[in-house]
Structure formats: structure tokens, C-alpha cells
Assembly symmetry: C2
Homo-oligomer: 977 residues x 2
Amino acid sequence: MDWRMTEDAEVEVNLSPTSETEQQAPHFLRDVIFHGKFKLLKALTPEETSHSQQGLYLQDGQRRIDYVLTYNVKKPGGGRSMRHSTYLLTENAVARSLRRSHHKRDKRARLHQAQKAKAQLSPPSPTVADVELGCAGETLNGHEDHKAFRREEFEAKLRDMGLVLEKDEDGKIPGLGFVKIHAPWNVLCREAEFMKLKMPTKKVYEVKQSSSVVEKISSLVSKALEPLHPHVEEHRPKNIKHLSHTFTREKLHLFDLSDKDSFFDSKTRSSIVFEILKRTTCTAKYSMGITSLLGSGVYTAAYPLHDGNINKESPESSDRKLLYEEWANYGVFYKYQPIGLVRKYFGEKIGLYFAWLGLYTQMLIPASLVGVIVFLYGCATVDDNIPSMEICHPRNNITMCPLCDKVCSYWRLSTACGTARASHLFDNPATVFFSIFMALWAAMFMEQWKRRQMRLNYEWDLTGFEDEEEALKDHPRAEYEFKVMQKSMSKDKKTKHKVEKLTFRDRLPAYMTTVVMMLLMIGVTFAIVFGVILYRISTKAALHMSSNPVTRSHVQLTVKTTAAIINLVVILILDEVYGAVARWLTVLEVPKTDKSFEERLIFKTFILKFFNAFTPIIYIAFFRGRLVGRPGSYWYVFESYRMEECTHGGCLMELCIQLSITMLGKQLIQNNLFEIGVPKLKKLIRYIRSKQGGFQEEERKKKLLRYETDHFLEPFAGLTPEYMEMIIQFGFVTLFVASFPLAPLFALLNNIIEIRLDAKKFVTELRRPVAARAKDIGIWYDILRGVAKVAVIINAFVISFTSDFIPRMVYQYMYSPDGSMHGFVNHTMSYFNVSHFQDGKEPMEPLYLGYPVEICRYKDYREPPWSLTPYEISKEFWTVLAVRLAFVIVFQNVVLLMNDVVDWLIPDIPKDISLQIHKEKILLVELFMKEERVKSHILESRVSAGGPAFCSRSNNNNNYTTAHPRSSLHTNSTKSF
Amino acid sequence: MDWRMTEDAEVEVNLSPTSETEQQAPHFLRDVIFHGKFKLLKALTPEETSHSQQGLYLQDGQRRIDYVLTYNVKKPGGGRSMRHSTYLLTENAVARSLRRSHHKRDKRARLHQAQKAKAQLSPPSPTVADVELGCAGETLNGHEDHKAFRREEFEAKLRDMGLVLEKDEDGKIPGLGFVKIHAPWNVLCREAEFMKLKMPTKKVYEVKQSSSVVEKISSLVSKALEPLHPHVEEHRPKNIKHLSHTFTREKLHLFDLSDKDSFFDSKTRSSIVFEILKRTTCTAKYSMGITSLLGSGVYTAAYPLHDGNINKESPESSDRKLLYEEWANYGVFYKYQPIGLVRKYFGEKIGLYFAWLGLYTQMLIPASLVGVIVFLYGCATVDDNIPSMEICHPRNNITMCPLCDKVCSYWRLSTACGTARASHLFDNPATVFFSIFMALWAAMFMEQWKRRQMRLNYEWDLTGFEDEEEALKDHPRAEYEFKVMQKSMSKDKKTKHKVEKLTFRDRLPAYMTTVVMMLLMIGVTFAIVFGVILYRISTKAALHMSSNPVTRSHVQLTVKTTAAIINLVVILILDEVYGAVARWLTVLEVPKTDKSFEERLIFKTFILKFFNAFTPIIYIAFFRGRLVGRPGSYWYVFESYRMEECTHGGCLMELCIQLSITMLGKQLIQNNLFEIGVPKLKKLIRYIRSKQGGFQEEERKKKLLRYETDHFLEPFAGLTPEYMEMIIQFGFVTLFVASFPLAPLFALLNNIIEIRLDAKKFVTELRRPVAARAKDIGIWYDILRGVAKVAVIINAFVISFTSDFIPRMVYQYMYSPDGSMHGFVNHTMSYFNVSHFQDGKEPMEPLYLGYPVEICRYKDYREPPWSLTPYEISKEFWTVLAVRLAFVIVFQNVVLLMNDVVDWLIPDIPKDISLQIHKEKILLVELFMKEERVKSHILESRVSAGGPAFCSRSNNNNNYTTAHPRSSLHTNSTKSF
């Protein structure tokens, strides 16, 4: 329809209402409009049918409202009522003029007429950009007029497509008009055919269990799990499934059309209408789809309706109420989710999200069990652990070098006894096993999800449906179209080339901004981590100087905990900031389609949030305590702050503290405070306000019709934030699991709440989203895979570098005189001659321990002062390093190989599902072959009646041309039976 | 149709011919059969139309032969002519009896009648197993009878499906009968609809280049590349493409049916017939499809026909001749392949193989270029290489420890000068770059292939077609069905359960055999490698003992080369053995479908061949020279053979020799000798034989009809061997590319021949394969990915462990006094005090060099004899090891990350293709919307003629039931225009 653009780029959009709409509405719909108008006039009396009362149906109480568009109307009163009546006049004029012009259906004729009409009637109009974005320079009324005309045109086109529209401007909400859209049966059929919807046919078949033993076991299991299932009766018996086939009007007899009202359910109806809305465009200077119309304020909102109230008092049952009771309810947290119902109500895309979340939570149960066992193993063996025993033993009391310059003094290793014992909880051989387990767990999770997805695809009749097709239907976003229009206008002045799209050069500034901003943001993250390090170093030094012995003894704990909390707060704040920045950057880039927008946004958000969440943790795991130097030549930041050291065996401990605080804090605060608290707070504010308004608001709300109530709900903003939250959590569960085996448990507890929280949000707080078909979770699966892969490498490094696992192994098998761990602590520490301290750096209280110190010890593999090369890195260091690196290589490759094996061993399609699909195909072929046979039977009987024509055709297929009319004949004959 | 099996499992299959076929052939086809018979009787006179002469058409010269089945008939003469006449009688009886029974179409009735007939007529019949496999215990004639009856039944069913059959038993080949199958138009239409074939519609659209600049460049490029394109006129102009749509008889008006003969091309016709053949089953005691019939010898072969002769003299042009001239011809080796034509003639699956091979060869061009440059860089810098200069320098002449016990003596390092210089060619910094390059090259290749595949999918109208569907159509293999039948028979005696499939337990013995055999075969490979090692060690020792100085000086080269040749011969022999073993093991496992068979076979063959090809190479790369021990405590095999050492810097050199000999030898011998030579040899033998037979054979062949000629060609055995060969080659190109930069060049040269060789084979030597649809190359892509992944790891290890790259780096940056490489050679060698030799191991000629030796040197990082821990592994060793391992980790992860980035950066679907697909979709929707509009227009005009019925429907959609007949009315009306 954009031929106008090429032909005459200067045609103005501002056509007078009469001439414009007169051309657009097809003549055979005039009666509909008239009918609607009469209804509209006599409508809105308080007594109506109960259906209409609820606002789910059009005024006749029979036809369901499938979609609602809202727009702003001026409130009656003052000069504005004048405008309103003009508008009504316009509608009448449309109807009248329709009668006049219903034979002129040629587009070009219409255009010429429209141009003439414009020349005659319309005042000098504003520029297109003004119309679109509502810039200043035009009176409000004129501006509103344009919008009304645009609406008229759009609605006429909708009627052209066969939709039934009903307007309501005098509802209980002043200033708001509603266009209620209903799709009649023939439109539904046509669109279902276009969209290649798979619908159940009349043919049913039995879903058989593979063998009797398996059947018995599965029935036993399902009986045992009975209380865990939600009380949602699935309509069809479980063992019977309807054969599905792509809907086509030519094979209507295949489908069960006994109840045409419910053949297409409400989510399908609304998505069909949405499809039409997306396709329909106003042919102004440039085409405007529904997104552009929404973007430019011609309409304010577009949404399908919820199918009922969730109030307990309302007696009618609806899917929504059922979902509210059996799903969006903390009381049923232990139950499975009614995924089938969720899909039925919200569509496949949202159904898949909740199915994924459910599987993830389910899979967390074994992970957290094993995690707890590993933790308990650590607890149980803490007293048998030789290294920590040696540290705690008062006899071999080693004098350690001071932890900071001057103010700190020498200290005894036995004071680190507590930390050493605690770190054993997280740093024992079981941890290695656990991180291998978790890597395999992640692979299993992926595989299980693929299988679950396949099963759902089968159950939801999505097999054979291609995501690509869905993606290709994606229309350009309003912002993109506007940008292209702007570009084409600025180009028009120079050349006459038509601009069709944005090139890389157009987007270059935005890309540059993105790169710079992303680097800046990551820089900010690094800077903040560095800031926290400085805070830790300086505070520690300051607290060490304190004369209060209690303060001094609690220095470590205080500093660690406050630093972790600071980190957490920063992470939470930056999370919000980064979310906003990512969105802003993506808007700048003006992606073409919604899908592209979503992907770019996800990509940016993911990178920023990931850096934000994991930079401090990565610092602690891999850099802290490594960039220290050695006594006598420490490394300094800003020439005065010595880099921080870990206490003996303490880096893993600190990592653990940081991880648990970040994870718990993020979940508690982001989920519970933000997601539960904020809506509660909003409600409270509303309540207080309504009290001030004298209950008017509240009472009025109760009387509102369905479509009016839904207008007050929040619009659905996509699943990205929900997925993102879970992915970051998945990162916490897998990435550093070697150092924190309790992570899966925390995640599990959080998710049990999260499912119901999200469910509540979808059922009660959001407008009903348009159902979207989807076969998989798209980009999220790839991100999950990526996280799981990175997790393997990070865990390899945590085990080999952060924990003392490798040094212990090396000591035990290469250096230990008796093959035991005795002497390990001594082996890991080097000697330092205190006379080698730099001037001014030696401790101020050398006699703090009560005896003079000549040699102090520090944790490193270096040559002793008496060797030929004092303080040089020793052979042991290189040995341990080589073993560490070898462990990384072996761990990474073995685990990745095991992942591949798991991937290969577990078939992507569950056996029973693949059998069922196969069976379905065979049944379908049989069905059609039967049909064929009936056809040929009929043909035959006709032929035998009319003579032996068939034989001659079979033997002498030279006369092909005669076959064609005959075959069309027999398709006709099939139709009629 | 297997309800018979359940109902009465004991019904015998041996029904008398009359009663059996009488029931099966549908009555309305009797005339066809009669017609055919009359033709048959009057046929086979030498004068016929030219079409029929060539044997491409049925006797009427009009109807194309789409498929041929052959079977053995007894030669006329003696008691056998008697049998032959019986057979003819049978056919007559069929026709007669058909007249009698053509009203009884109910299956059950037929069965009962058949059973009665059997009871009356047939003699006591043999067991089913005997019938099937032709065991002894039954006379040949009776056995042949059974086969004939089976054929009758099968062919009757084929006629039932609408196919036209023509028999020819009196052709020029005695003892061979042909069933020529033709698919008439209505059958083609029906099956095309079932198979969801996409066919071109009448609607054409222009394929536009994205912008004018790009267009110009691309036209320039294509003009420059013009001579490289084969002279194959594609029928449609390049910028115009037909919109394709899934074929359906309801929308026949969409398709261009002006020439119905060529609407379905020959490959589509034959694949449609093949589809019907696969679906049709004889209902004996158990159903037998075409595979079972072929397997049990009822038919001997089934193939579609080539479409013409390739003789230069024959004037008619055909696709085959064109392919022969423009593709299967060494003269056009520099040209692109006419992939479109290949696909048109052989179908998508084979087209994809050649497209893949073509892209691989194309991609090898840059790889071999860079490889040659790297090699030349090595050549150019060999004189600047300090380590080899130091080795060759006569002044710092280092005395080395003897290379073998007793017979060898001390030697001077400068004698290794040649090897050192040669090894620099393959061991220089450029090699590291090259192996990174090749890893990226492999990733690029994968991506390019994905894109090429997508482009071909688009051009070949495969978008939207699902591989799954194809896979699901796969029917069980004959062997599987037979096995199930056997099992069910043995079970029948015990229980009454029906056996439907083979369980894991049934296959357990086969699986056990597979595992044991695979391990055994791998063991054999290892044993042979070990044997070659022993050969090398012992021969070297023996040759060292020789008194001839020339022999002694050539020891190294002789031993290396002969060992490599032995290895090569063993690899070549084992390759054939392993291929056979893998096939045998797979047959043992009785996989259900052909696809499963193929996958299992590929898996086994791949593992065995891979081990076979790469075990010796892996040994040389990673183990040789590492398991040596040190002077004074060498390691011994069988207590007398010292493990072999590499010469200085020589392991890489040896690896290189081994690689080049294996690769070149494999390619030259396997390709050229086996693939070219063996067919030539066969031809020669045939020629000699025909000379003996007095040219009879030759002359007769010239007169043969097409279907008779094709019978003498080899059947098509699948693409597995072709792909396998290429994958192993891909392994050589990528796996050890760090040590042999010329591998891509050799591969390129080989592939240029390989393409034409394979093409020749397909065009001239094989029967025409049934065209198979495929969207991708399936499992091979995964295997390629796997090889590319393993290549990254192996290259990392080759660089860090086999080459001296890391030690050089470590020396230069950690130990070198002046940051140069001077002193590197000295640094890598440890000292040995000759007095520490074990008794009896010291050299017999200690004064061989002319001076007494006290300290000799050997290549290792060990403490000198004068240190506190003599001959212990030194700190340098650990340092180098740590750096080596670190390099592996960094290399592996960086390269894998880069691969992922390449994967992510290059979109899988080329931009222009995705735009075209989008455009096609839109055009299709527009087309249908236009149709809709026309429909509604017609409906409207009818309604306005019949009264204002439509309005009432729009406003009052309550009466849905009335809408249905009306909508069927308007679909009818569409049909008729």
C-alpha cells in the first residue's frame, strides 16, 4: 500500500474527515456501522444482560470482545463539547457518504478524489513530523482532529478486513474512548489458515504407554504425586488426544465445529485480531501500523481482555479465577504448576517461561540436596583435617610476619585457627566432586529442558510450526519507521532516491555511543570494586591502630562484612542504572523489529549486569592475595596502601562470604522488597488517596466494565526481566559453586517464592498479554549454555587456584615424607629474616608477642634467606603451578567431554513423544488416504455412470488437459459430503 | 494392514496364485492390465518410436518410465519353459478372476475367501522363514513360484495405488524380467500433496540486488568469473524467481500447468514412485515392503532410469550428457560446479554433498596459500635462526651422549645440523600464527557452509521443509522386520503377546560384540604402532652395528622412511578391514531404519578409521622421546630395547615426515589407485573377456534399451564413504596443522581431482540414485565440528609440547642474559658424567670422536652431576612445563572464544536470502489476500442477487450454523474460475 509514497511524496496526510473516511470503509459494511450506531445510541442503560454487564461482550451480549483499543477523547463541557459533536457529525457523514461512493473501489480513483477533497476542504496543514510527535506549533484541537481522522481511517480498514467494531466514549472513565473489536467466524477462519494454526480434528487416538510394567509404575508414581498436582481438570481424558492438523477451510469437515464459539479459544481469538491489527496500516504519507499509532498517541493502549474477575465473591468460574486459585497462590507452593492452563490462558511463550522456571526449580532440588550433603561432609570432617589441626595446635606455634606496615606486629598462626577450620567447610575434596557434579547437573538441566520443551511442543501441537515464520511476520517498530521517514525526508531534498532502510552509517553514532557507554559502565564497575578494595585496606589499617583490643580482634570480620554489604548495595543500585542505560542505548540504535530490539537489549543488559554482579567476586577469587609481593618488598597502591592479603587459607572463605551476601541480598532485596513491597506500597498510597477522595474511586471501580478495569492494569512489558533475573541466579548457582555449595539451596528457596510471585503478577497486576506462539525460549537457551560453559572454566580455576586442593595434593604425593598431610602448613610457608624489612616498614611493636622475632613466616613458595638466591620463587612454586594448570586443562576438557556425552546420550526428543509424533503422522496419512479412496469411489461411480472414461485416461495419459477439469470436479464433490 | 497378524497369526502365506491375486487387484484396474497385456503381446518388434527405442518410455512411446524393478526369470528351454508358461497362465488367470470378484472389496471377505482357496488348492507349504530367505528344503521351482506370487500381489497393490505397470521378460538379457513403472498425472498430484513438495507457482518476482553499488560490483565480479562458470544455461533468467508454494490440488490454478509432462521433473517422478513403493506392502503373514522383497530376492533390483546416453555420438541432449560434459570431466577442473543441475538430476542430498565438497575445496585455496607462505617464511628465515646456527657452528661443538647402548658412541651436536635447520621450516613463530589461523579457518568454513546451505535451501525451495518429516517416513529395514518376525514366532509358542519391536535385551549380544570388537580393533591399532616402534628400535640398533659408514650415516633417514611406509601400508590395509568390520557389526545390531543404520555405521567407521589414521601420528607427536629416561637410567622395552629418542629438535620433523607420507600416500593410493585404477582394471578385464567372446557382449550392449543398460551399472551405495574420506582428510588438514603447514595444499590438489572423480562415478558408473530431499548434511556437520574442536586442543599441545616454541620463549624472557636466543641450545641440555653409566651400557668405542669424554650432554632439564641432587628434574623443567600448560589453556580458550565470536558475527542466513524469504512470504500473503477479495466479491455479488443475507450475518453471528454451508459454497465458487 506504500505506492503512494513513491508516486507523490508530497501528498499531505491531513485530509478532511468526510472525504477521507468516505473512501476507506467498504460499502458492504455500512449496515454494520449503522447497526452499531443505533445500538450505541440506545445503549449504556444500567440494565443489560449479565454478559454485557461484565464488559466481556459487545452490546448485543453475544459477540465476544476480542481486543480493545483505547484513545483519549476530550471531556464534554466548554469548547470541547463542540469538538465532540463535530466528531459525531463526522461519523454520520461517513455513513452518509458511504452510500454515495460505494461503487468506486479503485484505489487510484480514491486517491485522486481524496486529493481533490483535501485541496478544497482542508486548511494549510502542519508538517508530518508535527502531526506525528505532537510538537508545538499546532493548536490542540487541530492536533486532536488529526488523531481522530487517523483513527477513522484505521478503523475503516479494520472493518474492511471483516472485523466488527463498537465504540464507547461515554463510559465511566471520562476522557477515554474504547474501540471494542470482535472477530466474526469467517475472519477467524481466514486468519487461522494464514497463520497455519494447528487445530484439533475430530479424529481422536489413544496415547498408549509403551509397556505394561512401565505403565503400572508410572500410574503408581502419578498416584503418589497426586496431591502435588493442581486441581485443574484438563478437559480431555488423559489417554485420548485429538489429532491436530493445520487449519484450512477446505478441510472444514475434519474439525469438530459443534461449538463454534469455543473452537477458537479467547487467546487465539485475540492473537488473530492482533495479527490483523499489525498488518493493517493507515496509508498516510508513510504507512502507519498499530505500533506507530500507539507510539504517536492516536491510540493510547491496545490489549485483549482478561476473561473474568478474580474476586472470590463472583460466582462465575473463569480460567483466570482458576489460575488465581490454583497457581498464583503461595498456599500451593509445593504443587506442580498447571502449565496447560497457563498456556491456554497466556499463550505458549509465557507458558514456556513458567515451564522453564518450574523445571529449573525442580532440578535445583537434587542440586541443593547434594550441596547440603557436601557442606555437612565438610562439617563432619573438620576435626579430622590435619592442616587445620596443625594450625590450631598450640605447640607448633608459628610466628607470622605482620599483615600491615608499622601498626601491625608479628602474630601467631594459631590465632587463624577459626578461619582455617571454617574454610575447611568449603575447601575439602568433596568440593571438587561437587563442582564436577554441578557441571554435569547444568548439562543435564539443558538436556532435560530440551526434552521438556519437545514434550510441550507435542502437547501444544507446535510440532511442524516454525519459529522463523513467526519472526518473519514481525513488523518494523514505530520508532524505526519514523526514523526512516525522517531520513527519507531529509534525503528527498537532495536526491530523489527512495529511502527504504537505515544503513550501518545511519546507526554509526548510536553504535559508537553504545561501545563508549558500555566500556564506561564496565569501567565504573571496576572503579567501584577498586574503591571497595581501598576502603578495606584503609579501614583495616585504621582499625588496627585503634587501642581498643576488642575492636582489633574483630577487625577482620567487621571489614569483610561491611565491604561485602557496600558491594551489595552498589550492585543493587548499579543493576537498576544499567538496566536503564541498556534500554536507552538500544532505543538509540533504533532496531528494526521488536525481536531485534529485544535481542539487542538482552545482550547489553546481560553483559552489564553480569559484570556488575560478578566483578567483585572474580576479584576476590582470582586476584586478591596474589598481587601482594613479599615481606621486604611489598606492592603498594598509591605508594602507601599495601595490597591486601588473605589470612591463612582465607581467600576461599572470603569468596564464600561475598557470594552468600551478594546472592542472598540480591534475592531478598530485589525480589521481596522490590517485587512484593513496591506493589504493596503503591496499593497503600492508592488506598490513602482514595480515602481522601471519599471512597469515590474505590466504589466506581467496582462498577467498571471488564475492559475498563483492565485499562487500569499495568501493560505487559515482556519476559526479559524475569528471565534475566533467573539467568543471573543461574550464574551464582553454577559459576562459583566450588566455593559455595549452599548456593543451589538458596536459589531453590528463592524460586519457590518467585514462581508464585510471577504468577500473581501475571494474573492480577498485568493486562492480559497477547498470546505469542513460540517453540523454545530462544536466546535464553544460548545464554544458559554459555553460562554453563564459562562455569566449567571458572570452577576449574577456583579449585586449582583459589582453594588449597592442589598444593595439598602436591605435598601429599611429592614432598610429604610419610605420605600424610603432616607438615603441610610448614611446607607452604616461606621464611623471612626480619632484618631485611625496608626502612620504616618494620612493625612498631616488635615485642608484641612477648619475645624478640628474628625469622617470621609468610605464605608463599620462596627460597629461604639462607639460600643462594634468597626470596626467589622456588622450585615448589613452579611444580605446584604446573600441577594447577594441568588440573585446569584436565578438568575443563574432561567435564566438557562429559557434557557432550550427556548431550549425546540423552535423546533430545523423548522416546514416547517421538513414537507419538510418528503415530500421528501415520494416522494423518491414513486419514487422507481414506479420503482419497472415498473420492476415487465417488469419481468412479460417476464415471461408470457416464461411461468408461477412466480407463482410457489411465492408459493414455496424453490428454492431460482433460484431467484438470475433472479433478476440480471431484474436489467439488468432496466438499459436498 | 497388519490386522491379519493379530487376528490369526497362523495364516499361511503360501496362497495359490489364482486365489491370492484375484483378491488383491482392484476391479477398476483390470482394463489397464488387459491393455498392458495386449501391448505386451504385440510388442518388442525392432521398429518402434525413437523414444521407445531408447527404453525411456513405455511401449506406447508416450508415458515415461519412472522406475524399474527387475527380477530373475527362468530361461526358456527345457523344463523351465513349462514353468514360464505357467506364469503366463497365472497372469491370465488373474485377469479372468478379476472379472469374477470385483464387487467383493471388503478385506475380511477377501481374507476368508483366500483362506478357503488355500485350503482347497495349495499343497502343504514350507515355513515362512524358508520362503523368505530361500533356505534349502524346497525345490527351486516351488521357491520361484512363491516369489512370482509375491510379485503378483505386490504389483497388484501398486496398480491399486494408481501406478501403471508394464512387464518385459523377453528382453535382450536372458533370465531377467523388468517391471517398468509409470506414475500418471493424478498419482503424481496426490503424492506431491502428501509429500508436501514445494512447486513453482505462476507468480514470478524479481530478485533485486540490495543497492546499486553492490549490484555493480557483483556484476563486475560475475563478469570476471564468467569463464569459471560451466556452460549450463539455467532455464530461468537469473533475476526472476518463481514463487513456490506447497503443492495442493485445491490450489491447482496457482501452478503453471501448461506443460504437465515437465511439471514434475524426472527425479521428482522417480522419488514419488519410490515413496509409493516404500509404502506398499504385501500382506503375507507379516508385511513385506519393497526393501524386504529386494532382500529376499523376490526382486533383484529397483532403480530409476538415467535420462539418456553419454556417448558423444548420440545427437539428443539430456541432463546426463550435459553433466558429463560440463561437470564429470577433468578438463573443466578449474570451473565451478553446475550445482543446480546436479540437484536437478540427482536430488538435494547428492547436490548438497557436491556443494559441500566444492565449498571445502574453495576454502582450501586461502588455507593452502597461507600454508605455503608460512613454509616459505620458514625457508627464508632458516639462516637467521640462532639455535640452528649454534648447532651448526663448528666452534661450540658439544659432545652428546650416545643414542643407543653399547654400539653407539658419543657424537657431536653439529652432525644434527641438517635436522635442526630442516625442523626450523616447521617450527617457527609463524607456525603458531598458522595454527590459530587454521582454527579460525575451520570456524569460518563451518559458518560459510551454513550460509551456503541456507542459500541452496532458498534456491531449491526447501525453506519450510522439515527434515524430521522425512525421517519419520523412514520405514523399517527388511532385516529388522525379519528379526522381529523371528522373535515373534519364537515367542508365540510361549506367550500370546504380540512382539512389536526389538528391545535392548534382544540387541545386547550384538552390542557386547560391538564393544569387544571395537576395543579389539583399537587394540590391534595400538599393537601395530607398538610393533613399528620395535621395528624402528631394533633396525636402528642393527644398522648402527653395521660396519659400512654409508649405511651408518643414513641410518636415521632409512629407518624413519621405511617405518613411515610400513605405517602407511598398515593404515591402508586396516582401513579396508575396519570398514568391513564396522559394517558387519552394524548389521549384527539390526538397526530399525536406514537412517539409524547409517548413523551407527558412520559412528563406528569414524571411530575406527580415525584411530587407525591418527594413532601413529599421536604417538610421534606426544609420546615419542618423552618416555626415554636419562643417561644412566634409561627406560627399556622387553628389558633390552631402549626407548627411542628424537634427535635434537627432531620430533616435530619426524611428525612432519610421518604426516606427509601418510596423507600423500593415503590420497594417492586410495583415490588414484583404488578409485581410478580399479575401474580401469575392471574395464580391461571385461574387454579381454569380450574379445574372447567374439565382441558379442560389446555389440549386444549397444543395442540394449535404457533400462537394460542401467541394470548393468553399479547400484548407488550411499554417500557415507565419500564423506568419510573427506572428513579424515579434514582431520589431516586441521588436527596437526601446526606441524605441517603444507597439508592444506596437498588436500586442495587432491580435492580438485576428487570432485571430478566422484562426478564421473555418479554420472557414468552408478545407477541413477533415487532423489532424496535433505536440508543439510546431517551428522557430518556435527562430526566436522567435533574434529575442528579437537583440532584446537591438539594444536595447542603440538605447539606447546612437540615444538620448541615455549622453551625458546621461556629462555628468551626468563633466562637469557641479553634477551637474545644465544645460549639457548646450551640451556636445553643437561650434563652427564660418563662414569655414571650402568655397567654394560657404556659405549664400546668411547674414543670414537678421537678424544676421551668425561661429561656428555643430553637434551633434558635436569640438575648437573655436581649439584646436591644430581640428575633430579630441575626448576627450569617445572618453569617450562608451567608455561607450556598455561599456553595450552590460553590457546584453547582464546581460540574457542574466537570461534564462538566468528560463529556469532557471521549470520547463519545471508542477508539477501533472509530478505528474499521475507519478500516471498509477503507476496504469498498478498496473493492469498487477493484471492480472498475475489472470493468475497463473488460471494457478495451472489448475496446481492439473492437478498441482503450478508448484513444480517455480520450483525448477528449467532446463527453460525448457517455460515458453514455458505462458506463451502464460496469455496466452490472459487474453484470454478
